[in-house]
Symmetry: C2
Subunit: 258 residues, 2 copies
């Protein structure tokens, strides 16, 4: 269900192509980010380099000031991942924060139509613009580390050795991105063919059309050789089962829509 | 197996963090691109906008001049997707091509260690830098459209209504990206904990460690309500089975490595 809040449209985030699929709804956009196992973060090139930087990173939406905030409320994006020294150096040296673009995309199905031009994906994608700063306050940093750890497997933080020691706190950096604008796109349903193909019996009689649903599946967990805990804990078993049921239900429902 | 060709290291593509996971091998990088259902393409911001553009697009590696070239040979990246008018306008107005960065990332497993700081993902990622130009020659454009269609489902092109008519040829644009540099990263194996945790029985006795393998699974295809072909064709059934077996074998093997 749509939330009351929407992100403002800016020149860079307004969807022009297939704008019937566009959304600026805060809850939808935050959900796409939180359900993506990887985000792609881009920032402007150096003066001598024409290519923008682009990095895969782990991240999640959250509010340190209002930790109980829901997905339909204003949230920051916290990032942790393959943080090159370059992004950290740039974020440190930008008093207003480093301008970054964040992309989250989930493929939910391969949509096969009568002709290649009408093929598509079922998908959910979001693009966020914001200013990235390094989290300096220890309390906020610890909170964000727990948030990000638990975004990968809920309750993992408290079920492993915490808190991080001082060496770990020093070597880890967390970025907080204040979001200024964002947009999303959602495509669901079966193929949409034009009448020029749908009315041709030679085409419809020979071309299978439909959707191959796609899900990111969590397989049966495999213990490390040095694992000493005999039984797989419930918080992992339950999460694997719940996530698989949730993403499959979404993809199958999206595929069955007209 | 590594190929003899490697991409040159440039300032923007040299891996500094976790550089033991780095690869510049042409075959590895091309494979990561071709096995990714979505690529993220970034290009520099407008003068008045600090945020780089970032778009999810469909693409694949290929060589129009040497169509039988293998993955370990020089290839271009052909892109088709949510092509905003902006990227097309910029590519058209850049005589040398528009500088773009392309990212491909596949998550293969959640790696759970004794402490959050040692958690990781098994993953394969690639970043490519190159110059994007619009494919103008009809012969190359048709070839690339077939290549991209068949990268989603092999043999789909010839099993649907082709060739595209003139309206479809006009409304579709394909970008060819000449790659100038690229790098990849591959992480596989179980968790690597430090001795400070691995020697503590209270930690090892209470914390399950291992890998939750992650796969992009293709589910049972769902026919569209208007589908007229009774039986699912073999080229689709076979592809779904082969892809699922391949990605699961990769993720499980990666999880079981030390």
């Amino acid at each position: 269900m749509a939330s009351p809040l929407a992100y403002p449209k800016t020149k860079g985030t307004t969807v022009n192509r297939y704008n019937n699929r566009a959304t600026y709804d805060v809850k939808t956009i935050h959900s796409i980010v939180n359900e993506s196992s990887v985000l792609h973060v881009s920032f402007a090139p150096d003066a001598e380099d024409p290519f923008p930087a682009i990095l895969p990173m782990i991240g999640t939406m959250g509010s340190f000031d209002y930790p109980s905030a829901d997905l339909d409320e204003p949230l920051d994006c916290y990032l942790h991942g393959y943080v090159s020294s370059r992004i950290m150096r740039l974020a440190t040296s930008s008093p207003q924060g480093l301008p970054v673009s964040i992309a989250a995309t989930k493929v939910d199905g391969l949509v096969l139509a009568l002709t290649p031009n009408a093929n598509s994906y079922n998908y959910r994608s979001a693009i966020l613009h914001g200013y990235a700063s390094i989290v300096e306050k220890t309390e906020e940093k610890l909170w964000a580390m727990e948030l990000i750890t638990n975004s990968v497997v809920p309750d993992r933080w408290k079920n492993s050795r915490v808190p991080p020691d001082s060496a770990e706190m020093q070597s880890t950096k967390i970025l907080r991105v204040k979001i200024t604008a964002a947009s999303g796109k959602v495509r669901e349903g079966g193929p949409h063919d034009e009448a020029k193909d749908a009315t041709r019996e030679d085409v419809t009689g020979s071309t299978w059309i439909g959707v191959v649903p796609v899900v990111e599946k969590l397989c049966e967990p495999i213990p490390a050789s040095q694992n000493k805990v005999g039984e797989l804990p419930n918080y992992i078993t339950d999460y694997v089962a719940e996530m698989n049921a949730k993403v499959e239900a979404y993809a199958l429902n999206a595929a069955r829509l007209p």
